[in-house]
């Protein structure tokens, strides 16, 4: 592929044009809107002590699953904010209690826990875990509209891309907190975030990704940490 020859002035104008575009994208990119709603009660004022918490994703919807890495992100956020809070690993929890937390069998209401506790091995396992709170996260992150175009070419001694692309990303998650001792729901926290990502390309594509899911993780994690921790 042969590129047209440009004189020095054209090259400078061309470069400044793209530099401005990249700077604009850098300024605009990374901007994420976040809306957080919280409704909680019976907050453990003194924290949860030596008890543990498990955070589980809902995966019974036909068209999406709550991402495993998002659940892990929230768990890490809570544990890093207050190392005294023990957050059980989701996969290990589901495997240890198989088949009672599969999409088909997972309790959808706190009262369903009583049915589970009628099974002696399940009740015994919960006692061993010292489980105090079960937090269900439902939601996912999706890419929305995308625009722009980009062309890439390769030739002897040369390869590169040229163009500009942009796309939106939206996250919507809701956390439902169950008090495992009283078998009641004690709160709901939701986070809706959205952002625009950009990818200008002048020879090399430069992705400027809006941290939409990360912001949702931080938002939900902060609220849950505030609820569970005595130090926040």
């Amino acid at each position: 592929m042969n590129l047209p020859r440009l004189n020095r002035a054209d090259r400078l104008g061309f470069a400044s044009h793209w530099l401005a575009l990249i700077l604009a994208a850098l300024v605009l990119g990374g901007c994420v809107n976040a809306t957080v709603d919280e409704m909680t009660y019976n907050e453990p004022i003194a924290g949860i002590g030596e008890s543990s918490v498990v955070i589980l994703g809902r995966r019974h919807a036909p068209d999406y699953d709550t991402e495993f890495d998002f659940i892990e992100c929230i768990g890490d956020h809570i544990h890093s904010g207050d190392p005294s809070i023990e957050v059980l690993n989701e996969l290990a929890f589901i495997n240890e209690l198989y088949p009672w937390f599969e999409p088909r069998t997972a309790p959808m209401q706190p009262r369903a826990i009583d049915q589970l506790l009628q099974l002696p091995p399940v009740a015994q396992r919960f006692i061993e875990m010292k489980l105090e709170y079960m937090i269900w996260i439902d939601g996912n992150t999706v890419d929305t509209e995308s625009t722009g175009s980009m062309s890439c070419g390769i030739g002897p001694g040369f390869a590169g891309c040229f163009g500009f692309g942009t796309w939106g990303t939206e996250s919507e998650y809701e956390a439902t907190i169950w008090d495992f001792t009283d078998k009641v729901e004690v709160g709901r926290v939701s986070a809706a975030t959205s952002g625009q990502s950009y990818m200008p390309a002048v020879i090399v594509p430069i992705p400027i990704i809006a941290p939409v899911q990360g912001t949702a993780c931080d938002s939900l994690g902060d609220q849950l940490l505030e609820y569970l921790s005595a130090h926040h």
Partner: protein
């Protein structure tokens, strides 16, 4: 072939860049059209249960233990798919049944029937009646899905016979129960690794779902419930179940499908018509313990482009014959 082309591309310096790029493009083109093979594997957890005080015999027919499905590409944009689930099926059901029952005896020969039959309370024979899958290129939906329908048959050990060719069979009239179990697994592309990994993960999720469905509906299946009721009094009275004659176990109830009267070879899959008839029963017994809120897995049975896999060949128990029959059924492929 791809590897050899790559070696050509990375070969002598005499090959020019243009040719290398052309070969690379050709390699990528061919790789895109090549078949994809998945041997399903995963780590399966033991069920958290108090095992039933029952000694269960289990027969994995070759069509089950070596189960695979093949889907031929319908266009240049698609790939052939060969998914082997047999090993994973046996591994998974071994763990699940081992957790659900006090003892599980694998019945793989007539000698086992004779030597272990006295202490076996019942024999479970699983089969895969139907399997469908979708990948994003089929549906434009960003989800990989696998849907399976099992047919489980429960028989008394006395109903198991040996055929002239050595294969095990049983009289359908002596069947204690027959019931279907459906299972569904999906992997969103958001979790995307490769196509093969996504299909493997969907299959593992489907297997786990099958186990959950089996455990939560086992005792509620009419024929099974009657069988369990028949076992309980004897166990409560301290009688040794294994010494009871087979006729002491209740005769089939409404849950048991009427047989033809002729011996049924264990390797044969369920005929399509009886499978369809039993599907209604299955959908009625689907709800999980949280029945009001039970998820309704996306049933791809209605998807026009789903693949229906059915092994139709009768397969003898000996492995050599079984292997050849599997190859035969592979050629049958699926229909989308």
């Amino acid at each position: 072939m791809v590897a050899s082309l790559v070696s050509i591309i990375l070969g002598p310096d005499s090959i020019g860049w243009g040719r290398r790029v052309a070969l690379l493009c050709l390699t990528l083109f061919i790789a895109g059209c090549s078949s994809k093979q998945v041997i399903v594997e995963g780590n399966f957890p033991e069920p958290l249960l108090d095992p039933l005080p029952i000694t269960l015999g289990v027969i994995y027919p070759p069509a089950f233990a070596q189960h695979e499905f093949f889907d031929e590409a319908k266009g240049r944009a698609e790939s052939d798919w060969l998914v082997k689930t047999g090993e994973a099926q046996v591994a998974f059901w071994d763990i699940l049944l081992g957790g659900l029952f006090q003892e599980v005896v694998h019945i793989d020969s007539w000698e086992t029937v004779q030597s272990e039959g006295g202490r076996i309370d019942g024999v479970l024979i699983p089969s895969i009646a139907e399997l469908q899958y979708t990948v994003p290129t089929h549906t434009n939906v960003k989800i990989y899905e696998i849907w399976m329908r099992y047919e489980f048959r429960l028989a008394d050990i006395a109903a198991i016979h040996q055929q002239d060719d050595g294969a095990l069979s049983f009289k359908p009239d002596d069947r204690l129960a027959q019931w279907p179990i459906t299972a569904y697994g999906k992997t969103p592309t958001a979790f995307l690794q490769s196509d093969e990994e996504a299909v493997n993960l969907a299959a593992v999720v489907a297997l786990r779902d099958a186990g959950a469905h089996f455990i939560t509906t086992f005792g509620r299946t009419p024929g099974v419930a009657a069988w369990l009721d028949g076992l309980s009094p004897r166990q409560a009275s301290g009688e040794t179940v294994s010494n009871e004659p087979a006729s002491a176990i209740p005769s089939p109830t409404a849950g048991a499908t009427a047989g033809t009267g002729a011996d049924e070879t264990l390797e044969q899959d369920t005929p399509q018509d009886s499978a369809a008839a039993s599907a209604a029963t299955d959908s009625a017994s689907m709800p999980a313990p949280n029945s009001a809120d039970a998820p309704t897995p996306n049933d791809p049975a209605d998807a026009g482009n789903a693949v229906v896999e059915q092994a139709v060949s009768a397969v003898a128990l000996d492995s050599a014959t079984a292997a050849s029959e599997t190859a035969g059924s592979r050629e049958l492929g699926g229909t989308r």
